[in-house]
Amino acid sequence: MDKNMKVLVVDDFSTMRRIVKNLLRDLGFTNTVEADDGQTALPILEAGGIDFLVTDWNMPGMTGIDLLKAVRANPDLVDLPVLMVTAEAKREQIIMAAQAGVNGYVIKPFTAATLKEKIDKIFERIDG
């Protein structure tokens, strides 16, 4: 896990993007970019250079689950680590996300410790 990796944070609420950005900065990840919807995020991902995607689920244009599916369907992006941070807490949704290939799932409200733990876990699995 390279602390210099480029992270894309996607959420339609700017307050949430700010919080996640600040937490990432606290953990040493200062190279972050933002998008306010799956729709605006996808071109950023397709342009290349993003090493880690943190996304909400419920967004008006393109939802996080559809963004995830688009990422996994794209041969250039298929291995991109994806962490979902969302208020959607129904079991069937969690399962749906896992089956669509999400690497981690954090529900809101969350703690800084949980975020750190999930990020560490994702990259342990990748690097290991």
């Binding site: 959420d11 609420f13 307050t15 949430m16 700010r18 919080i19 600040n22 937490l23 606290d26 689920w57 419920n58 939802t63 208020a87 959607e88 807490a89 129904k90 079991r91 069937e92 949704q93 969690i94 399962i95 896992a98 799932y105 954090v106 529900i107 809101k108 409200p109 969350f110 703690t111 800084a112 949980t114």
Partner: protein, 241 residues
């Protein structure tokens, strides 16, 4: 069909019959029958429209009933939850601020004291014994600063996390706005029907596909919800993810 019109037709019939003009008499009789038929059609048409409107009225009624029985009480609970969440967030923030203000203040006072002493030292106005005690004070100050500044950092992080309420309460409020909009649309349609205006605006179905933030007591009644991160982690690991 006016009386004058009927009278005119009757007169035409009598004239035709007196003239022995069967063709003409038949024509007039047909006209009279036509009038009767179209009147019948009109009345049937009116009855059909009334029936149709009543049925729409019933379905709107049942829609509004469903809203008043389920969605509106739900909406009240959701808004109550928003109040609770925002109150909690405000309290967390205020607690952190109240804890940190004295910390910051005492650091400030210490630094101010030491700064004055240090100035005297730089101006060569400090005897050696005092210098020794100032030295010890400075060492203590650095140690305390480390602890205090760590406290400040933790407190600031708590304040940061407490702002997470805005996203969740925002989503909850959006849903209540949709419900109010649905209710408004249905009421407007009912009013239009009652006023006899048969133009109906297109009904908008705002069925939300996503369940959204879980409001305790409202969204978790079916028991199919993960109530915390541990639930999520357990579910995922039980399925081998």
């Amino acid at each position: 069909m006016t009386n004058d019109f009927r009278l005119a037709l009757a007169k035409d019939l009598v004239i035709a019959l007196e003239q022995g003009n069967e063709l003409e008499a038949d024509k007039v009789l047909d006209k009279i029958a036509e009038q009767k038929e179209s009147q019948l059609f009109q009345e049937v048409g009116q009855l059909t429209r009334q029936l149709h409107d009543t049925m729409i009225g019933f379905s709107l009624d049942s829609k509004i009933t469903a809203m008043t029985e389920n969605d509106i009480p739900d909406a009240k609970e959701r808004l109550q939850y928003v109040i609770t969440m925002t109150e909690d967030a405000a309290n967390k923030t205020l607690n952190a601020v109240e804890d940190l203000l004295p910390v910051s203040q005492s650091l400030n006072e210490q630094a101010a004291e030491l700064s004055t002493k240090w100035e005297r030292f730089l101006d060569k106005e400090m005897p050696f014994d005092e210098f020794k005690s100032m030295s010890a004070e400075i060492t203590r100050h650095f140690q305390q600063s480390k602890g205090s500044l760590l406290q400040v950092q933790n407190g600031l992080n708590e304040i940061l996390m407490a702002q997470g309420f805005q996203d969740i309460t925002g989503q909850i409020i959006k849903r209540v706005i949709e419900l109010v909009h649905d209710l408004e649309t249905s009421m407007v349609e009912l009013i239009r029907l009652a006023g006899g205006d048969r133009q109906s605006s297109g009904k908008q179905d705002n069925e939300h596909e996503l369940p959204g933030p879980v409001v305790p007591g409202v969204d978790d009644k079916a028991g199919d919800v993960a109530s915390n991160q541990d639930d999520v982690d357990d579910l995922l690991s039980s399925l081998g993810f």
